[in-house]
């Protein structure tokens, strides 16, 4: 069975998700089968192919610089898990 090249612990950290050792191991095994398919992709010759930027090509889609009504202040905060006055409240930042 092919190996999974993913350093799952590192990637999970980047994605801010904590996995148990069991989950990491299980995911690793599950990914390895997918990587069998992905390896076939690596074997294709794509040297003269450009990457699809968008499947239906559009460009220069812009909007005029006009103010439109925004959310009512209370509506904006209505789903906030925690708030203090007009602010969204969350725990301190520890880097």
């Amino acid at each position: 069975m092919a190996e999974t090249p993913i350093d799952i612990a590192h990637v999970a950290r980047l994605a801010r998700i904590a996995l148990t050792d069991e989950e990491s191991a299980r995911f690793s095994a599950q990914f390895s089968r997918l990587f069998e398919f992905i390896r076939e992709l690596q074997a294709l010759d794509v040297t003269r192919v450009h990457a699809t930027a968008q499947v239906i090509p559009l460009h220069d889609v812009v909007r005029p610089d006009e103010v439109s009504p925004c959310l009512d202040h209370e509506a904006a905060l209505a789903n906030a898990p925690d708030r203090e006055g007009p602010y969204f409240k969350m725990p301190r930042i520890l880097e």
Binding site: I8, R33, F37, I38, V49, I56, L71, A80
Partner: protein
């Protein structure tokens, strides 16, 4: 069973009131729900209020729209202002959006009445609705099988004749596969045909909203209502929306219908499935179509390509779910611990898998080898279709490799589930319109026929599907196990 256009015609002719139609639908849905579990939220009061308003407008001689009074359901990833919208996830379990998706506004603007939000695989990731964080939905045809996914709830409620029209989304097959499994019509439009604004995003370059309906005519009308340029979506295309129903035709004379060599090969080992599709192609021929063999040589790379691009985009789209501004929050001593605790508790296993896969595919040192390469193979797959459509007007092929499987049958091996998308992924990657229309039964379980057209040729696609539908009438031939055959409206 009453289709949407039949209900609409009766309402406009004042033979039926919107309140009656919606009440009957709510009755049918509620009766089926304990077994079916197609919904995450039902909105009876809201629905009846709107139905009443429609009736008042009709009484005043107004025309409330193409879908006036028709009861509909929408997948729970369409933001619906004031109505809980979960995207099938615990992380949004109590999220009430302050705004509605553009397609919801257009549906309601055409007079449709939303009776509830349907169940789905979490964040649209899955092919069976078993990844819903809440509960699985059952297939209305046998009660033991999956309805397909990720738009399983929408397909099931239409299949069970609760409502005639439901909205779903299709990223790699999530409308077409459940439509096939539930014996209903399901349409994925051309990428950019329908606005994505207000649809909880999974994979931005692939997601498209579309209808699941009892018949092709309703899909045509619903598509006409929801399609069209939206200034709130930079990727929505400014191309006029035709009256799709005008393209519905009775025969297929002059139509060149491509049959995909590689797909036939893939199903070869399954005699029953092969027989079903062979007879479907014969019907097309009998209707006057000329069958043309075509090739999609890069179709086999679809799985790997899709499972690099979609997770990459979703890993970024789902970063916003962190407990800070809305949704679930799990306590943490500091904000980054809170992010991690929330996401760990709030996301299911499949979502976590795809976020990790996607984060990896974009990460430093791997971006070119995986994400960029996948986007290049995507170009090759699109070119396959461009070449095929030089020789045919539409492509007819399977949307699935098998009839609906049992609940739990594929949950142990994610890749086995991913393989369900084999026949639907290439059209998604190429951004082409594709649909599934009921095509018969294998072991008494429904199987659909997929029709694919060139970009923005939904009319042509619907026309072919309609001809096939009228010649075979599979949707009318049997009744589902769960749900009233009379479609809730007698």
């Amino acid at each position: 069973m009453k289709t949407g256009h039949e209900i609409h015609d009766a309402i406009v002719a004042r033979k039926l009131s919107a309140v009656e139609a919606v009440s009957a639908a709510l009755g049918a849905v509620t009766a089926a729900e304990p077994m079916l579990k197609a919904y995450l939220t039902l909105t009876p009061e809201r629905a009846l209020e709107r139905a009443k308003a429609i009736d008042q407008r009709i009484a005043r001689g107004e025309n409330p729209g193409l879908l006036a009074g028709v009861p509909v359901a929408v997948k729970d990833l369409f933001c619906t202002a004031g109505v809980r919208t979960t995207s099938g996830s615990k992380i949004l379990e109590n999220f009430i959006p302050p705004y509605s998706a553009t397609v919801v506004e257009r549906l309601e603007g055409a007079g449709a009445v939303i009776v509830g939000k349907t169940n789905m695989d979490e964040f649209a990731m899955g092919s069976s609705t078993e990844n819903s964080a809440f509960y699985p939905t059952r297939n209305p045809w046998d009660g033991e099988g999956v309805p397909g996914g990720s738009s399983g709830g929408s397909a099931a409620t239409v299949g069970a004749r609760g409502v005639p029209i439901a909205l779903g989304t299709d990223t790699g097959g999530s409308i077409r596969e459940p439509a096939s499994f539930c014996n209903v019509v399901g349409v994925k439009p051309t990428y950019g045909r329908v606005s994505r604004y207000g649809i909880v995003a999974f994979a931005s370059s692939l997601d498209q909203a579309g209808p699941l309906t009892l018949d092709v005519r309703d899909s045509a009308d619903t598509l006409e209502v929801i399609a069209g340029h939206d200034p709130m979506d930079s990727t929505s295309v400014d191309v006029p929306v035709p009256h799709y129903a005008a393209s519905l035709r009775a025969d297929l004379r002059g139509v060149r219908c491509g049959v995909v060599r590689e797909f036939e090969e893939a199903l070869k080992s399954d005699a029953k499935m092969t027989a079903l599709f062979q007879s479907a192609y014969r019907v097309l021929e009998e209707l006057g179509a000329q069958l043309v063999p075509v090739s999609l040589p890069h179709a086999k790379y679809g799985l790997a390509t899709y499972y690099l691009i979609a997770p990459a985009e979703c890993s970024s789209n789902l970063a916003r779910y962190d407990g800070a501004r809305y949704g679930l929050r799990v306590k943490g001593d500091d904000v980054f611990s809170m992010f991690e605790a929330t996401r760990t508790a709030g996301f299911g296993a499949e979502v976590k898998r795809r976020i990790i896969l996607g984060t990896y595919a974009l990460s430093s040192g791997y971006y070119d080898a995986y994400y960029v390469r996948a986007q290049k193979v995507r170009t090759l797959m699109k070119q396959d279709f461009d070449e095929a459509f030089e020789r045919c007007d539409v492509i007819a092929c399977p949307p699935v490799s098998c009839p609906p499987f049992e609940l739990g049958a594929k949950t142990q091996d994610p890749v086995a589930m991913y393989l369900m998308d084999y026949f639907t992924i290439p059209m998604s990657l190429a951004g082409l319109p594709a649909m599934s229309v009921p095509a018969g039964f294998v072991d008494d379980l429904p199987v659909g026929l997929q029709i694919v057209a060139p970009a923005f040729e939904e009319g042509r696609m619907l026309g072919v599907a309609h001809a096939y539908e009228q010649a075979t009438r599979w949707a009318w031939q049997r009744e589902p196990m769960i749900g009233s055959a009379a479609g809730g409206v007698r």
